[in-house]
C-alpha cells in the first residue's frame, strides 16, 4: 500500500518546519483524504494542523479574527458571525453536509481543490493534476465549469462557498509569514493550473481576518440538488443603501471562475447610483460582459445576472 507519515503539529513553527521538509498540511481532511484515496494526491508526509488553536476573536477595530483551525460549523454558528456577517454563515451552511462541516476547517476550506470530474479521475488527462497532459473539460463535460478568467490550460472552478463570502467581506488571509487580501489568495489558471493559490510551498494559513462589517450581507447558492451539491453559480453580496442610492457595495461570485470572482466592475458601476433593480441588472450585465462561456455553460451567465440582481434587491 502507499504509505505516508503522519504527525500532529505542536505549533505553527513546528508545522511550518515540517512543511519545509516536504510535508503537506492536513486540516479536516474532508477533501485531501478523498483525493488520496482516489490517487489524485500522493503526499508522503502529512502534518496535521487541525488541532492548532481555533479561536474566533474580536479585533480592536471591531473586526473578527478566525483561527485557521476553526471548524466550518463552529464558524457558521458563532453569534458574532451570524449577526454581523450573515453572508459568511449562510455560505458555510450552504456547503457540504453537516458531518463534513463538523470536520472541515477554515484554512482547509480555502484550499479545497476543484471538483472538475477530470481532475478526480486519475486515469484521464488533466493539466491541474498532471501538468501538460491536457484539459479534456474544455471540449468535454463542462456544464459546471468556468465562464470567467479561464485559460486554454484549465477551465475548472474553485468549489468553496466560504471563500466567496470572504471575498465579498474584504477578508484578509494571515499566513505565518504575511498578510494577503483574500481576493488575491487564489489565482487564475493561466499556464500553471496546478497552482490554485499564491501561497509559497510551506506557507501556513494561521487565520482569516474580517474588517468591521459595512453593510447588510447575504449569500445565494444556485445548485441542482437542494443540499450536498457544489454551486452552479453563487453570489455573496454586501450592500449599504443611503437615501435610495448605493453607498457601499461588494459582490463576489462563486462557481464561475478558478477563484472567487470579485465583481469590481459591477461595484464601480453601482457605487453612488440608484439602488434599483434596473441598475443592479445593468451593473450585472456590465460585469458579465467579459464572460466567455464554454459550449455547454452559457446558462451560467444568465443565472449569475439574475441572481445578482435579486440578491441586491433583497438587501436594498
Amino acid at each position: 500500500m502507499r504509505e505516508f507519515a503522519y504527525e500532529r503539529a505542536s505549533g505553527v513553527s513546528a508545522a511550518v518546519a515540517a512543511a519545509e521538509q516536504g510535508a503537506t498540511f492536513l486540516g479536516g481532511g474532508t477533501n485531501l483524504v478523498d483525493l488520496m484515496k482516489l490517487g489524485v494526491a500522493k503526499p508522503e508526509r502529512l502534518v496535521d494542523v487541525s488541532r492548532l488553536p481555533a479561536d474566533i476573536e474580536e479585533l480592536p477595530d471591531g473586526g473578527l479574527r478566525i483561527g485557521a483551525a476553526v471548524r466550518n460549523n463552529d464558524l457558521a454558528a458563532d453569534p458574532r458571525v451570524r449577526l454581523t456577517y450573515p453572508a459568511l454563515s449562510h455560505a458555510l451552511l450552504a456547503g457540504a453536509s453537516g458531518q463534513l462541516r463538523n470536520l472541515a476547517t477554515t484554512g482547509g476550506n480555502l484550499l479545497q481543490r476543484t471538483r472538475c470530474h477530470y481532475f478526480m479521475v486519475s486515469t484521464l488527462p488533466c493539466n491541474k493534476r498532471a501538468p501538460g497532459s491536457g484539459c479534456p473539460a474544455r471540449e468535454g463535460i463542462h456544464d459546471n465549469h468556468a465562464i470567467l478568467g479561464w485559460s486554454e490550460a484549465c477551465v475548472a472552478t474553485h468549489p468553496s462557498d466560504m471563500s466567496v463570502a470572504l471575498a465579498a467581506l474584504d477578508a484578509t488571509v494571515v499566513t505565518h509569514a504575511r498578510r494577503i487580501p483574500l481576493v488575491d489568495l487564489h489565482r487564475l489558471p493561466g499556464s500553471e493550473p496546478e497552482r490554485d493559490t499564491i501561497l509559497e510551498p510551506g506557507e501556513l494559513i494561521v487565520a482569516v481576518e474580517l474588517p468591521p462589517a459595512h453593510g447588510r450581507s447575504t449569500y445565494r447558492k444556485v445548485r441542482d440538488r437542494a443540499s450536498f451539491a457544489f454551486a452552479l453559480v453563487s453570489v455573496a453580496a454586501v450592500l449599504r443603501v443611503e437615501d435610495g442610492a448605493v453607498a457601499d457595495v461588494a459582490v463576489a461570485l462563486g462557481g464561475v471562475a478558478h477563484k472567487p470572482w470579485r465583481a469590481s466592475r459591477l461595484e464601480s458601476e453601482l457605487r453612488g447610483g440608484p439602488a434599483t433593480r434596473a441598475s443592479y441588472e445593468a451593473a450585472a450585465d456590465a460585469e458579465l460582459a467579459e464572460a466567455r462561456p464554454l459550449r455547454d455553460n452559457a446558462y451560467k451567465v444568465e443565472i449569475a445576472k439574475r441572481a445578482i440582481a435579486t440578491v441586491l434587491e433583497e438587501l436594498s
Partner: protein, 690 residues
C-alpha cells in the same frame, strides 16, 4: 378459507429485524469473517476497447502484502458457456473502460487496492465507439426485449391514422444513463472446502442465480455450492443477477487456496454492476378533437455492450396503457464500448412511461382537455395488446381519488420568485409471479418456522412472509420464524420484477395450508410446497394482471435560476391487497423518491472521447437527498386480485418510480410553459428558457 379473512396481513407490522439493523447486529456480506482471508480487488481497464497484451504481475507481486495477481494469461478457465459479464479474465479482449481485466489479492484491502492501482498493464488499443445517437449506424432490432417480449408490435395502420388525426403529438424524449446506488455496494466472501465445495456470503437479490452461476462457471454440483445472504442493503435490480464480484471472489480463493473477499467500490459500481441504458424515444399520438386516441407509436433507441445484449423493454408499457385502434412499438439497440446495461427499478416501464406520460400531457394541452379526463377517455375495456380482460384495473380510480385528495387542479401561480405548477402521470407495472418452493415446520414448543430462499433487500420481505404464514396458520406473529437468504432453503424467485412477495407468498400459503391439518399429530412436522404447477393464479381464462397508480406533483421553479424544488407529491395506487401498510408505504415512497431523482438530478456523464463515465460517486452522481424530498403522501385503493396469488396481492416495489418523472416534467411545464424533453431537468436546461 381465504387468506383475506384474516387480519394480520395488511397491518403496519414493524420489520422483524429492525432492531438488529439499527443496532448494527445484522451482518452484511462484507462483514462475515473467515480465517486467513485474502482481500481481492478487481482492476479496471483504462481503455475502452482493444486487447490486454501484458500485465506486469512480477512487479506487483513484489509490493508489500500482495499474494497473487490474476489476468487472462493466468486466471483459471471458467466453463465455456459462462455469461460474458461473468467470464472475467477469460480472454484478452477489452470491451469497455472499467471492465475488470485483472485482479490483485493481498493481505489487506489497502494493499490490494494500492497494488491494483499500481499494476502496469499494456494494451493494444482499438477504435472505440461509446456514444448513442438516434441514427447510429450500428442500430439493430433485437430478437426480444427484457425479459422476453417481442421487440416490435403493430396493430392497424398507424401512419394512416396519424395522417387523418385531428391532433398529433410527435416528440422525442431522452433519458440519460442512470446508475443504481444501493447503500450497500456489492460484496462477496468466498470460502472453498476442498476443490468441490464452495460457500459464499454475498449481497444479492436472490441466492439461487448466484449459486447457479458459480456452479456452472466452476463446474460444480450445485448442491455443493452454498450462498448465504440474510441481509442485503438494497439492490434496485443491480443485484438481481450475479455480478463479477461473485466470480472473482471464488476464483481468487481457488487460486490462492484461502478464503477471499471482494468489495466492489462505489466507483466500480458505475462499471461492473449494470445501469439503465440511455434512451431516445419518439412518441407519436394521434387523436380526435374530443380526445380519443386513434394512433399510438413509440419507437425506442437504446444501447447495449459489446459483451452481451441487454435490451430494455422501454416501449412495452405503451402496448397496454391506453386504448387506440392503431398502435406500433419498436426497439433498436446499438452495441457500443460501454458497460453492459441491466435492470434498474422498473426497467422498461420507468423510462417508457416518462415519454408516454409526457406525450399524453402534451396531447391534453393541445386538445385543451384536462389530462386526467384525457386518460379516462382512453381507458381500455380490455388489454389493448392481447385482448384479454384485466384481472383488476383501477387506473381511473387512482386518478380520481388522487385528484380529490391532491386538489386537482389549481391553476399555475406565482409566489415571489417561484413559479408554481402541478402535474399528474399514470403508472403501471405488471403483476406476475414465478414458481417457488417453501417449507413450513411446526415444532413442539409451539413455534413455526418458514424456510424459503427468498431475499430481503431491505423491503421487509422477511416480515411480510411471517405475516402471511401467521395468518394462514392462524397463529400469533411472534410464533413464526422466517429463514431466508440461504441457498440450502427451498428455491424461490428472486426479489425482482415486483414478483418477490407474490411468488414467495403463494408458496408459503401452500406450505402452511398443508401443515395445518397435521398440527394435531406428532411434532415436529414439516410440509414442503411447490407452486410450479399452480403458478399463474386462478386459471379460468387468460387475464392481464397489472398494478396501477397515479402520481400528483407540485413544483416550484425559481424564475431567476431554473432551480426546481418539489413541494408536494401524492400517489394513489391500486396494487391488489397491501400486505404490510408500513413497509408498503416505504416501497411506494422509495419508488417516488427515486423518480424525483430521475426527473431532476440523476445522470451519469459519458465522455465519448475516452469511453469514460466521469462522475462516479455520490458527490458527482446526484441522487435525491432529504432536502429534495418533501413529505410524500401515499394512498391505496382496496383491491383483491385473486388471479395473481392467494393473498390477492400485486407487486409494489417498482410502480412508485414509474410515472413520477413524467409527473414532475408535467408540473414544470404547468409552472413555466416550458417543456424539457430530456432528463434530468436541471437549471442548465431551464434557466435560459424561463
Amino acid at each position: 378459507m381465504s387468506v383475506a379473512e384474516r387480519t394480520l396481513i395488511g397491518a403496519p407490522v414493524d420489520r422483524l429485524e429492525g432492531r438488529e439493523k439499527v443496532t448494527g447486529a445484522a451482518k452484511y456480506a462484507y462483514e462475515y469473517e473467515a480465517a486467513n482471508v485474502v482481500h481481492v480487488v478487481g482492476v479496471a481497464a483504462t481503455v475502452p476497447s482493444g486487447r490486454v497484451v501484458r500485465v506486469d504481475a512480477e512487479s506487483a507481486l513484489k509490493l508489500p502484502g500482495v499474494v497473487a495477481v490474476l489476468w487472462h494469461a493466468t486466471a483459471p478457465r471458467l466453463a465455456g458457456d459462462t455469461d460474458p459479464e461473468l467470464a472475467i479474465m477469460q480472454s484478452d479482449r477489452v470491451s469497455y473502460r472499467g471492465q475488470w481485466i485483472a485482479a490483485v489479492a493481498a493481505e489487506t484491502y489497502a494493499a490490494a487496492s494500492a497494488a491494483g492501482r499500481a499494476l502496469r498493464i499494456d494494451y493494444e488499443e482499438a477504435e472505440h465507439d461509446s456514444v448513442l445517437t438516434a441514427d447510429h449506424p450500428a442500430l439493430y432490432t433485437p430478437e426480444t426485449v427484457n425479459p422476453g417480449f417481442p421487440s416490435e408490435t403493430s396493430q392497424g395502420d398507424v401512419d394512416a391514422a396519424l395522417a387523418q388525426a385531428d391532433v398529433v403529438v410527435d416528440e422525442t424524449y431522452r433519458t440519460p444513463t442512470e446508475h443504481n446506488n444501493a447503500m450497500e455496494p456489492h460484496a462477496t466472501l468466498a470460502v472453498w472446502d476442498g476443490d468441490d465445495t464452495l460457500t459464499v456470503y454475498d449481497s444479492n437479490q436472490g441466492v439461487r442465480p448466484v449459486r447457479q452461476a458459480l456452479a456452472s462457471a466452476f463446474s460444480l454440483d450445485p448442491e455443493n455450492v452454498r450462498v448465504i445472504s440474510p441481509h442485503v442493503g438494497g439492490g434496485f435490480g443491480s443485484k438481481g443477477t450475479p455480478r463479477p464480484n461473485v466470480i472473482l471472489a471464488a476464483m481468487a480463493a481457488k487460486v490462492v487456496g484461502r478464503p477471499a473477499k471482494v468489495a466492489v467500490t462505489r466507483q466500480q459500481m458505475f462499471s461492473v454492476t449494470g445501469y439503465r441504458t440511455p434512451t431516445i424515444q419518439r412518441v407519436r399520438l394521434g387523436a380526435t378533437r374530443d380526445g380519443r386516441l386513434t394512433a399510438i407509436a413509440h419507437d425506442v433507441v437504446e444501447q447495449t455492450s459489446m459483451l452481451k445484449e441487454f435490451a430494455e423493454q422501454t416501449a412495452v408499457v405503451t402496448r397496454m396503457l391506453y386504448a387506440a385502434p392503431n398502435r406500433r412499438t419498436s426497439h433498436k439497440l446499438a452495441r457500443l464500448n460501454v458497460p453492459t446495461p441491466s435492470w434498474m427499478r422498473a426497467p422498461g416501464e420507468c423510462p417508457g412511461a416518462y415519454a408516454l406520460e409526457s406525450a399524453m400531457d402534451e396531447l391534453a394541452r393541445a386538445l385543451d382537455i384536462d389530462p386526467i379526463e384525457l386518460r379516462i377517455r382512453n381507458e381500455p375495456e380490455l388489454d389493448p395488446e392481447s385482448g384479454n380482460r384485466f384481472s383488476t384495473r383501477n387506473l381511473v380510480g387512482c386518478l380520481r381519488e388522487g385528484a380529490e385528495r391532491f386538489g386537482w387542479k389549481e391553476p399555475p401561480s406565482r409566489d415571489g420568485r417561484w413559479l408554481v405548477g402541478t402535474g399528474v402521470a399514470a403508472s403501471t407495472y405488471p403483476a406476475r409471479r414465478q414458481p417457488s418452493q417453501a417449507i413450513a415446520r411446526a415444532d413442539a414448543d409451539g413455534s413455526f418456522t418458514i424456510g424459503i430462499a427468498a431475499a430481503d433487500i431491505g423491503t421487509g420481505a422477511r416480515t411480510v412472509i411471517a405475516q402471511i404464514a401467521a395468518d394462514t396458520l392462524e397463529v400469533e406473529l411472534e410464533r413464526v420464524h422466517v429463514e431466508l437468504g440461504d441457498s440450502r432453503l427451498p428455491p424461490a424467485m428472486i426479489a425482482g420484477g415486483s414478483m418477490g412477495t407474490s411468488s414467495w407468498g403463494a408458496a408459503v400459503v401452500k406450505a402452511c395450508r398443508g401443515l395445518r391439518p397435521r398440527l394435531g399429530g406428532e411434532l415436529p412436522v414439516e410440509v414442503f410446497a411447490d407452486t410450479e404447477e399452480d403458478a399463474g393464479g386462478v386459471e379460468r381464462e387468460p387475464v392481464s394482471s397489472h398494478g396501477f397508480g397515479a402520481q400528483f406533483v407540485e413544483v416550484g421553479v425559481d424564475s431567476d435560476t431554473g432551480e426546481v424544488r418539489v413541494s408536494r407529491v401524492l400517489g394513489v395506487f391500486a396494487c391488489g391487497r397491501i400486505m404490510n401498510a408500513k413497509t408498503a408505504r416505504s416501497q411506494f415512497i422509495g419508488g417516488i423518491t427515486m423518480g424525483l431523482g430521475m426527473a431532476l438530478l440523476e445522470e451519469t456523464l459519458l465522455d465519448g472521447r475516452f469511453g469514460a463515465f466521469v462522475n462516479h460517486d455520490l458527490a458527482g452522481y446526484h441522487v435525491a437527498v432529504n432536502a429534495d424530498v418533501p413529505a410524500i403522501e401515499v394512498h391505496w385503493l382496496d383491491e383483491f386480485d385473486e388471479h395473481v396469488n392467494p393473498m390477492g396481492a400485486k407487486g409494489i416495489g417498482e410502480i412508485g418510480i414509474v410515472g413520477t418523472a413524467a409527473a414532475v416534467a408535467n408540473a414544470i411545464h404547468d409552472a413555466t410553459g416550458i417543456r424539457v424533453r430530456e432528463l434530468p431537468i436541471t437549471p442548465a436546461k431551464l434557466a435560459s428558457l424561463i
